[in-house]
Symmetry: C2
Subunit: 304 residues, 2 copies
């Protein structure tokens, strides 16, 4: 079953303790679609400018991602620049040029409106809502958002969430969205806003799943030499949705597995700048790391 992702395609300039990459392919929809493509067919919906050439799109083609929904319009592609501290979890944005993204009004091609899986990457909640309205009863809708929208368009975020099954955000965003200082309490409140599952991304600490009846947590893969965390959250979401679409099941077992797959894809993302690690990633490397996650979290009942 195939996945539609709506989000950004960008050129990033990134400085980390491991080095620097200039004007490289980035954006939430890019990371999501490449990570998800290892598990299911992906349709990318985004916008780029005249500076986006065939070469930039090569990884999408190599990964068999459908780019019919990638609009090419006059102007420059979205650009983002940031620097990470010695503690690679600390990020400072140096500049954001929205460029063609500023006028982005996603219109889904007819054949995509019937897709069963939809991921709304982090864009204006009103645009997320408009995409939702174009879809015909998708089986699963997941979305991301950020502080900027939660603070600036709280009502629009709340409205959009009514149509969302799984919200994927970080703990600070969860607390801000729920106006609660405690993440567990925030999670409980957010489950009343619409989504039946909340996934809280915790960066180097992994991710946690909250549903009304179950709690699950998975650690992050311990990387000795992280290179660039940009896109890790979107790669997580890509692996997560990819697994669900591949399995075609939405039960608790599958959602837990999907969190592990997401964590694995996020860990690969961080191993190189931009989407480079995915260009050479092989399915058996994914399987090996999935097994390592099993070993990392297994324990025998201490009460026995």
């Amino acid at each position: 079953m195939s996945i539609v992702v709506v989000g950004s395609v960008a050129f990033d300039t990134v400085q980390t303790p491991a080095g620097r990459a200039e004007g490289v392919l980035g954006g939430s929809a890019s990371y999501f679609s490449v990570a998800a493509s290892f598990f299911a067919p992906v349709h990318l919906v985004a916008v780029v400018g005249e500076d986006f050439g065939e070469d930039h799109a090569r990884i999408f083609h190599d990964r068999d991602i459908d780019t019919a929904g990638l609009s090419h319009v006059p102007g420059r592609t979205f650009r983002w620049s940031g620097v990470y501290g010695d503690d690679i979890n600390q990020r400072t944005t140096l500049s954001t040029e929205l460029n063609v993204f500023q006028e982005f009004k996603p219109v889904l091609p007819e054949r995509l409106r019937k897709a069963e899986y939809l991921f709304l990457a982090n864009i204006d909640p009103e645009l997320q809502r408009s995409v939702l309205d174009q879809m015909r009863r998708p089986r699963l809708v997941a979305c991301d958002t950020m502080n900027f929208w939660i603070e600036g368009k709280r009502e629009a975020v709340r409205d959009m969430l009514k149509g969302v099954d799984i919200l994927v955000i970080n703990d600070e965003e969860a607390r801000q969205l729920a106006l609660e200082a405690n993440t567990v309490r925030a999670a409980k409140k957010i489950l009343g806003f619409g989504p039946s599952s909340l996934i809280v991304k915790r960066g180097e600490y992994g991710a946690a799943l909250y549903t009304s009846g179950s709690h699950f947590a998975v650690p992050a893969y311990p990387l000795l030499d992280p290179v660039d965390p940009t896109g890790a959250g979107d790669s997580f979401a890509g692996g997560f949705m990819g697994h669900l679409a591949r399995k075609g099941s939405l039960d608790d077992v599958s959602i837990r597995q999907a969190l592990v797959v997401g964590s694995v894809m996020a860990s690969f993302c961080v191993e190189d700048f931009s989407l480079r690690r995915f260009a050479t990633l092989r399915p058996e490397q994914i399987r090996t790391r999935l097994k390592e996650f099993g070993r990392m979290t297994q324990f025998a009942d201490p009460a026995q």
Copy 2:
């Protein structure tokens, strides 16, 4: 097999979003020994002043903790006061009065020198070293330390670590001790300092185990209403050592289980001020929460 713990007994004044507790029993050795007492016999070595009465020691007696090594000396007991923010993970120390703790020179009674399990709670590394020197070949030595000692007495910490099997610290301390910005890299370096296992406490994110051959991580129990995190780390260490002493085994299976037991004891600690939660805690409540940890972390291999 029994455990000797050397550390502090204190009177704490604590303010958290859930309320306030004034002059209540605290201190690293208090939390450790009460948590560990659910699993193995514990001998407490610490110092208190004239203001420490029979009433204060009641929980130690109720939990059958041996207090023969608790010195009563002229002066006032160690006092600490702190406040937690709306985000209960943010702590500010308001005052520290070392009082009788300033002159604490732990001398182990003869019969304790043969104990098989030793926990050196967070005190001056030179005192930790002197306790180590008094012991006769203990089977397992674990210890805690903090930024204050790592910065101020780095050489003494490094020297003490040569005699330690398991170091239990938080991630910031691990990075500071190893002078590495990446926790995974820091862990690898610390395993070259002496300890064969490093346990990194991550507060609300749980704990991780690093050894030369294995990595394991356990999440924290998701508490809807945390009351007071004071002593959670020492309660973790108490549950951890208690389980190992009860099992009498130090293999990877037992150490992983011990991390889970530690996490369970830390989660109970946070449910009330001071040691209050432990006063009413029943073994079947521990077993129930251990089972919940199993459910919180279980997943089926996504590659199948």
